[in-house]
């Protein structure tokens, strides 16, 4: 789980952060303006490719993607 959190956090920083904004596991990503709703699609596709899962569109909501912790919860739901 810790591994997954680090991988997702690293991806978010590399993909979306263009200054020195700090990102923790609980940092609000969508509501905090770090990830815009357009860019969620790449995050979803990254997770699907990385973990060989398929996340239904109606589950890939801004709320479910709003922090690294929440994303991990979502991914784990489909890993089972």
């Amino acid at each position: 789980m810790e591994d997954m959190k680090e991988i997702i956090k690293d991806y978010v920083i590399k993909e979306y952060v263009e200054d020195d904004t700090e990102v923790t596991y609980d940092t609000p990503l969508i509501s905090g303006g770090i990830v815009d709703s357009f860019s969620m699609v790449s995050l979803k596709r990254f997770l699907e490719n990385k973990y060989k899962i398929s996340i239904p569109d109606d589950k890939a909501t801004p709320e479910a993607f709003d922090s690294v912790n929440k994303i991990c919860t979502l991914v784990n739901e489909y890993l089972k």
Binding site: E18, D36, F38, S39, V41, S42, R45, F46, N49
Partner: protein, 415 residues
């Protein structure tokens, strides 16, 4: 009547919020035609003030050009004021087709379709040519009209970091399984004045079999040796699948826009683009004016050459007096002030000195990147630019920002 006090109060509160946050836009009334020298009423009710305009998109100085005005008059006389129809019912005149042919030749594409505005072109093009099985990959700084068009399309949407070709390639790889991939960019970015790396983008699009769409609204008529646009500057004419552009800037400044590119894609717009199908045809005087603009620009490069020289003079002048500008070679020249209030104060003081230039700040530009966006025109003479430089020097000295670094300005005024 359903407009209750409660409803009115709700909107009043929203508008007050805009005012309190410094986001409320106030229009200045111009009593003259669009030109380098204009007469402005501001604030409302005040006497007219003669100022030099350095914030118009009138890049080629054609907005009030006598030949363009005369052609528009002639078009009004010969083809009427309006068509009272969309194009496909009874709104297509010979001059509409003539303009489409001329644009195709000017831009070096296969076909062209007119839209009431480039905003409409961008609103309609994506949904007309893409489906939910496709992906749109856009630069993160594209114009709002592209973003709105993207929102209206059922294809999925992803972004790449501004002008970052490595990141774009990653995205093309990520979405390589999609039926169609379309890369979307501005040719010249309107807030920073930089150009898209179209040569690299064409290479990547060819490598990954992706379509490329370029909004060249801030380029058409003056970027490139003969003013055809950013595709000419980067040596990729004929390789851009879709160009959208406006007639509201360099190409006469009135209104209207187009989608120009691969003939099948243009035909898809003619059959399916909703702003084309459900909006009135462009008015005949405007069409006649744009035809004259293209005739002027095809006959001589004098105006874009003058604009290039004016831009060089202006960029060097601002740098020499110690102001920070964004790098580039386009006539969009942002003077960086970083702090929102400072940008408003400098704009106000420039106006007092007879220079009309607007400050931009968050959310129009990113936080901490407030600026005065200046825009140079072939309609400017050197004396206009010298006077504007004098004003920038005087106002810059007042705020002690001349010769200062970004860090020093931020230390004085904050982000």
């Amino acid at each position: 009547m359903a407009y209750s006090d409660k409803t009115r109060g709700m909107y009043t509160e929203i508008l007050d919020g805009l005012k309190n946050n410094g986001l409320f836009k106030i229009e200045r009334y111009i009593h003259s035609s669009q030109a380098a020298d204009i007469e402005v009423e501001f604030p409302e009710g005040s006497s007219l003030k003669k100022v030099i305009n350095i914030c118009a998109n009138n890049y080629l100085g054609l907005s009030s050009h006598p030949e363009v005005v005369k052609a528009a008059h002639a078009g009004l006389d010969s083809h009427g004021y309006g068509m009272s129809s969309v194009r496909f019912i009874c709104g297509t005149q010979d001059i509409h087709k003539k303009l489409e042919h001329m644009l195709t030749e000017f831009l070096g594409t296969e076909d062209t379709i007119l839209f009431p505005s480039c905003m409409d072109a961008n609103a309609g093009v994506f949904e007309a040519v893409l489906t939910k099985d496709d992906v749109m990959i856009s630069d993160r700084l594209v114009h709002a009209s592209l973003i709105d068009g993207i929102r209206l399309c059922s294809a999925i949407h992803d972004t790449f970091k501004h002008s970052d070709m490595g990141h774009l390639e990653e995205k093309l790889q990520l979405h390589n399984d999609k039926r169609l991939k379309m890369v979307i960019t501005d040719g010249v970015f309107s807030m920073d004045g930089d150009t898209a790396k179209l040569d690299k983008m064409v290479e990547l699009c060819e490598k990954y079999d992706a379509l490329l769409l370029v909004d060249d609204s801030h380029s058409s008529g003056f970027i490139g040796k003969t003013g055809r646009g950013t595709h000419e500057q980067y040596g990729v004419m004929g390789k851009i699948d879709i160009i959208t552009t406006t007639f509201g800037k360099g190409l006469g400044g009135a209104s209207g826009g187009c989608v120009s590119g691969r003939k099948e894609l243009v035909e898809m717009c003619r059959q399916k683009a909703r702003p084309y199908l459900f909006s009135n045809t462009i008015a005949p005087p405007v069409v006649a004016g744009v035809i004259k603009v293209l005739e002027i620009l095809s006959a001589s490069t004098d105006r874009r050459d003058k604009l290039e020289k004016n831009t060089e003079f202006w960029r060097k002048g601002l740098t020499d007096i110690g102001l920070i500008i964004k790098d580039g070679d386009t006539p969009i020249v942002p003077v960086m002030l970083f702090n929102a209030k400072l940008s408003q104060d400098v704009s106000r003081d420039l106006y007092e000195e007879g220079i009309y230039a607007i400050g931009f700040f968050f959310p129009v530009v990113p936080q901490g990147q407030a600026r005065i966006r200046t825009q140079i025109s072939a309609g400017h003479e050197i004396h206009h630019l010298e006077k504007a430089l004098e004003a920038f020097k005087k106002v810059g000295a007042k705020y002690n920002i001349l010769g200062k670094t970004k860090q020093e300005i931020i230390e004085m005024y904050g982000m």
